[in-house]
Symmetry: C2
Subunit: 411 residues, 2 copies
């Protein structure tokens, strides 16, 4: 008789959920497979990791804070699923404002901002429901949704308006399946920083449709001179907002995998969702206990000068890139206002043999050994994203090579 399992051979398939789950950056980059020019050392402007170049380092006080926890032999046990009270309290104190007050109960810690996004997306949307996400935008939103069978629609950002949201397009995407609107400010990949007025206009759309907002504010406070970061939750007392953030960027430790959710719910709309977030947080118990225990010192004892210097360096780098790339014919440059990225439009009709962003990045690698991500990674063809983190001389050299590349390939 056939076995009760009905199986007669070892033909195992990955689950449908795994099949659905892809990281588009990985998929596109892995398909590139272009060897760099052996005569030029590779300079990568591809990875959103400020630590790999050696010129951005965490502050020594953060190292000491973690060492202190190691020496205590008291921070090695299981933290509660939502995070240690001292750590949640530290996050609440850091981000509480008079307009949008927070206590430790409004904070959930997670394994990186990605882990926070996974909890938030998983708690707010059913399989088959839709979230609205920005285009161009960070790819992990879709990766997480795909893994859960949650759908998404893109709303457009407008490069001619410093990547502001096209509000009409946003509103046109809304239908009865919409679960929430996700806003990323400051933006990866755009390097844009929204004004309070623009954020209010987005909140107005949310309010009209009773849609909660997920605010991805991992680049909070990372803005250049003349720009102000405004936390979305400060601007509304009616629209419920789940803001996500973490140590990765501002504290320059993406590998530490420390993220958080801030539950802003002054109108009591998230009562049930809050419980849902707590339930989902019990599945894997996200983040490292040493970092949790060190969080009060990391968040509250890192000197302001550290943050200022990070922003100043990023701003200097942005200036260098704009000086060198701003006047290159064939490139449309949108001057970044914060974060650590910049998008460059490729005017393909001005080039003789570069038909797309993917072809641009491939040939740039093959000829100039400069690695960038094609806009397709962010659902935005004919742009490329550059990272502003490499040391100034490297960045300068990379931009010069991009300019040279354009000179060679222009009609």
């Amino acid at each position: 008789p056939p076995p009760r399992s009905g199986r007669t051979s070892w033909s195992l398939r990955m689950s449908e959920a795994a099949q659905r789950t892809t990281n588009p950056i990985r998929a596109i980059v892995d398909n590139m497979k272009v060897a760099p020019n052996p005569d030029k050392p590779v300079i990568s402007l591809a990875l959103g990791d400020p630590t790999v170049f050696g010129n951005f380092n965490l502050h020594a006080s953060c190292v000491d804070a973690v060492k202190k926890q190691l020496d205590s032999y008291k921070a090695n046990g299981y933290p509660p699923a939502t995070g240690m009270e001292v750590a949640r309290d530290a996050v609440a104190r850091k981000y509480s404002t008079p307009e949008a007050p927070l206590t430790s109960k409004d904070v959930i810690l997670a394994s990186g901002c990605s882990g926070a996004l996974e909890l938030v997306i998983g708690a707010l949307a059913n399989a088959g429901q839709t979230m609205l996400i920005p285009r161009p935008g960070f790819s992990v939103y879709a990766t997480i949704a795909d893994s859960k069978g949650i759908k998404y629609k893109y709303y457009d950002l407008d490069p001619s308006k410093n990547w502001e949201v096209d509000l009409d397009h946003l509103e046109a995407q809304i239908d009865e399946t919409t679960a929430f609107i996700l806003v990323n400010n400051p933006s990866n990949p755009c390097g844009s920083v929204y004004s309070a007025a623009h954020l209010r206009a987005i909140l107005d759309v949310a309010e009209r449709h009773y849609l909660p907002v997920v605010a991805d504010e991992i680049y909070a406070d990372m803005v250049f001179s003349g720009q102000t970061f405004t936390a979305m939750a400060q601007l509304t007392s009616t629209v419920p907002v789940l803001a996500v953030g973490g140590l990765a960027k501002k504290w320059l430790v993406p590998g530490w995998r420390m993220g958080w959710i801030l539950i802003h719910d002054r109108a009591d709309a998230f009562k049930d969702v809050r419980v849902g977030l707590q339930k989902l947080s019990q599945v894997i118990i996200g983040s490292n206990s040493l970092i949790q225990a060190a969080l009060p010192e990391i968040l509250h004892n890192t000197p302001q000068s550290f943050y200022d210097e990070t922003n100043a360096q990023l701003e200097r780098h942005a200036k260098v890139a704009m000086e060198l790339l701003g006047k290159v014919k064939g490139l449309k440059v949108v001057v970044p206002q914060g974060a650590m990225y910049c998008m460059l439009g490729i005017e393909t009709d001005l080039f003789k043999d570069v038909k797309s962003d993917v072809e641009f990045t491939e040939k740039l690698m093959a000829e100039q050994s400069v690695m960038c991500l094609p806009g397709q990674c962010f659902k935005y063809p004919n742009y490329i994203r550059i990272v502003l983190c490499p040391a100034e001389d490297k960045l300068r050299e990379a931009c010069q090579r991009i300019a040279e590349f354009c000179d060679h390939h222009r009609k």
Copy 2:
């Protein structure tokens, strides 16, 4: 006109996935709400966290290994989604055997063993498919499956045979929806350690039905004198095995959230599943980079005496508990062989006013200030689980109080 969202008020519900997701330990313990006896200090035998009592501490060399990474300023960036090569290599070298060889490509790191289980369960089973899990057994298997809409059936363990698997019952659970068999050895909550012969018998069932095995071996090597831990993968070259483990228990750092998957696939049945695991690992990029970078030293430089002393202390504690509880009328004790737990059967018909495991644990807390988990947390009513980790004098006192409690309540 009504808004396009169809919504007319802020009535937000958590997602169905969040509703389905529950941690039964949390649910049962939170419902107990019993105040301890104010005249007796509380002793908790409830939490599977060896670090909370102060008598089990990680080895100083592990502290130094992490400090070294902090001082290097080189281990703060994003690790690859599946884990750093040096870390995966360290795990492979630690667990490779001639019968079941491993290389770094066969290792995936995750956020704790729970994170490893989440990847494994998510890669092997579709929503609606079934996994077979032990009863009594660790509750997170069901929590993970519930969050994904994956079903499960329980197979029975037999307390009269040191909690061996009831093989007929296991086989009877198999049907066309079965995706895999999960085996936990050494066991939480049983403290049992299976012989190679018994593991082989389980593998025979898997083989007959072409079902892969998930081996939860987080308590690998934590066995008492006369017992031998056998990794399941060593016993088969045909049944594909995903073994999960981590630093939590053997290295006494559950809060560090470092877990791993070992892909044992000598018959090439997991080709597709392996890709699925890699895809799913890209969603949140699990574990802390400092701990990953320190993993070679943690796994390979911790002295053998550290492991031996942990096991010796646990075994002494098990002896103390058995001496004090073994002859108490009304308790059925199954002598543990490893891990850090022991199950005590409650012969409710011998008690005048203790009708269930939940009532036992509640009254024990109220009268004796001793906290244990009722067997219902592990789907096994009329047993309670005790943790063997507290310092010997505390454990002795707790067992004496349990004995006294039984004396008071026996018919």
